[in-house]
Symmetry: C2
Subunit: 405 residues, 2 copies
């Protein structure tokens, strides 16, 4: 990817200068890496967004308190295998203990550490395993540790998710990198899954927060696997200025480029999460055009993306457009069904006034592909939105009927 503005480069959170990371097995899960740390080697500013679920995990509460006191953050410690959610006072103690252990091991003020957890809800953290794990991992962080960190935050994910892009700010090369995990309980709304981005850009804290919110709105807030919003969703970005560019401030051309690069990264991550939804075999993009407003386009796209019936039909390569128009109809937007046109991967199947132009054989060929775009034109205006999801399969049932076992 090189669009003239920025180009993709190998690696994830350690691709930007001045970041080290790592991931190890600490004994929280039965097998598989389960503990990750990402550290900036010099002072950095942070921005983050969190789940809007009223049931919030202990690490989410801790991080909000940390960020309310300072935007200066140096490190993120993350575990998989245990969400530390619905764990009451003990859970809060455990989350703070993780912060303190990381601060001690890295010799960083405790006010500059974020903590994040993902896994089963309602079980106490095996803190006697986590704290020694943090001490061991902190001494083993490296400049190519991003992949280990990406693996350590996975739960039912089937592949690690990392990406980085490089661009120029006033002639100075700047990099943004990220890792993320998703899989189930995916329906972020004003929040997201676990995702961590780093950048060596020098950027003002308010500019960083602004860019993060804007990019999040069109990426992680536009994916769904099962319509279930997590208690632990978070997306955080650390910027340490090591690249040496002049500080990026809002409203400048440099900010536009930074924003575009961050948006590119987060959308790529969001699509990787949707494609890797539990049991998924396909990535589905719902692209609503011709809407009166972007909000209505998003609302219609969300309803279609959340429809179990649409997702099972696409799993079966069945061009059942009736389920799509039904979902648009109950989405709550002010739609005129007679005006709606529907296609798959650009192949029209329904034109306005219910003119059916479905060629079953051609549609089946498109729907048997791994990447499906559902094209919905409302013919009511010029606004549009994209939303991503996956197909719903028997494996989703299999995975979730025995998740805790």
């Amino acid at each position: 990817m090189d669009n003239g503005l920025f180009q993709e480069v190998p690696g994830g959170v350690t691709a930007p200068k001045g970041f080290i990371a790592g991931g190890i097995y600490a004994g929280i899960r039965k097998v598989k890496k389960d503990l990750a740390i990402i550290v900036s080697q010099s002072p950095a500013v942070a921005a983050a967004v969190f789940t809007t679920n009223k049931t919030q995990a202990a690490p989410v509460i801790v991080d909000k308190e940390q960020l309310s006191k300072s935007s200066q953050m140096r490190a993120v410690v993350v575990n998989s295998g245990n969400a530390n959610a619905c764990t009451g006072e003990q859970g809060m103690k455990d989350a703070w203990a993780m912060v303190d252990a990381t601060a001690r091991a890295l010799d960083i003020p405790r006010g500059e550490i974020l903590v994040s957890s993902t896994g089963v809800i309602g079980q106490f953290m095996p803190i006697d395993k986590v704290l020694p794990g943090i001490a061991a991992l902190a001494g083993a962080l490296t400049q190519d540790g991003s992949h280990d960190a990406a693996e350590a935050i996975m739960t039912t994910d089937t592949y690690a998710k990392e990406i980085a892009v490089r661009f120029s700010v006033g002639g100075v090369p700047v990099t943004i990198g990220a890792i993320a995990k998703g899989s189930g309980m995916i329906a972020p709304n004003m929040a997201t899954m676990l995702a961590f981005a780093t950048t060596d850009a020098a950027i003002a804290p308010e500019a960083l927060q602004h860019a993060l919110r804007a990019a999040n709105r069109v990426s992680f807030n536009r994916i769904t696997v099962d319509g279930d919003m997590s208690t632990n969703d978070m997306l955080a970005v650390l910027a340490n200025g090591t690249a040496g560019n002049s500080v990026i401030t809002p409203g400048t051309p440099a900010f536009q480029t930074f924003q575009a690069a961050l948006e590119y990264i987060l959308i790529r991550m969001a699509k990787l999460i949707a494609r890797d939804g539990e049991g998924a075999t396909k990535l589905i993009e719902v692209h609503v055009t011709g809407a009166a407003t972007e909000a209505e386009a998003e609302q219609a796209a969300r309803a279609v993306a959340n429809s179990n019936l649409v997702k099972t039909a696409i799993h079966g390569a069945d061009a059942n457009w009736g389920r799509i128009i039904a979902a648009v109809g109950y989405s709550g937007i002010d739609v005129v069904p007679e005006r709606v046109a529907i296609g798959f991967n650009g192949l029209p199947v329904l034109r306005p006034n219910y003119e059916i132009v479905l060629d079953e054989a051609k549609a089946k060929t498109e729907l048997e592909k791994e990447n499906i775009s559902v094209n919905i034109d409302l013919h009511q205006g010029t606004a549009e939105a994209r939303f991503w999801t996956c197909d719903l399969t028997k494996d989703y049932i299999h995975i979730n009927a025995s998740y805790r076992s």
Copy 2:
């Protein structure tokens, strides 16, 4: 069932006096009965509620027009196998043709016929098969034809749904009966699946409509199979006064009894539909208590009942209460998670302040039963609501990945 107010009696829509019905195979589906007619032998008043989906099937549009002109209705003609939705002008012509054919065959004014369809969206009605079917069926209606009618309206339902109750109005025995179908695309909201009730009670039209709306609110509006709202949902009741009671008017003890009996029937029907959701093996009742308002109780219960993760966990007999509290958390109500208590079939698993009292073995025994009650106490007030759904299984995927085939 005999609660002193009313008792259950055999049969469905032909249990009340003065109603005949029937169901036949007309050739709309590959096999299985697919056409039903219910007729009052004397003038009757009707009340109905319809889907709030913006995409409305032709028969829904026709019935709304019919009822806007008169509350006097004599017959309902229903087909399965074809929804006559998203079929444009041709669909409207076909729906009116079904009305006209029924009127002719029964020698009833066309203004007194309701029409209803269920099945695949976006295909034209095979009207050359439907119209001769109506003519044939109209001559074969009987006083014990309710079961045939109940079978003829089934789609992926696995059993026919009918029920009747009898009670007394001023010493006069009065009966209400009903049939219904459900299975998939079940998430009624201010509307319902296909359900038809009859009564020989004499009741004022406004009292009938009032009772129907109130009973519908706590029955069909409180079930979900997959969160997908249909384009064809409807619930209609015909009352012909043949019982000879004095006319029931709102606000009287007789109205209270009528309302209670209708509510009992519709809740029973709603639960039968939830239990028979596509691929289901269990009926799940979500019972939220201790809410600040009934609306909040319903909203929380709906979120839990719609959660794919909760439904797959219960399918696997997994006491994963974390998914339940997560769903309550994102339901949008003003919940305090620390106050929430959760149980299964009355067995506590979570007490307030996240005190976990889960006995895995006992919980598994409860969750392996066919009927599961999920007890959620918000400890915020005294309001409550019940909501019904089914477990989510691999068979749901199997059925819906190839529904049109």
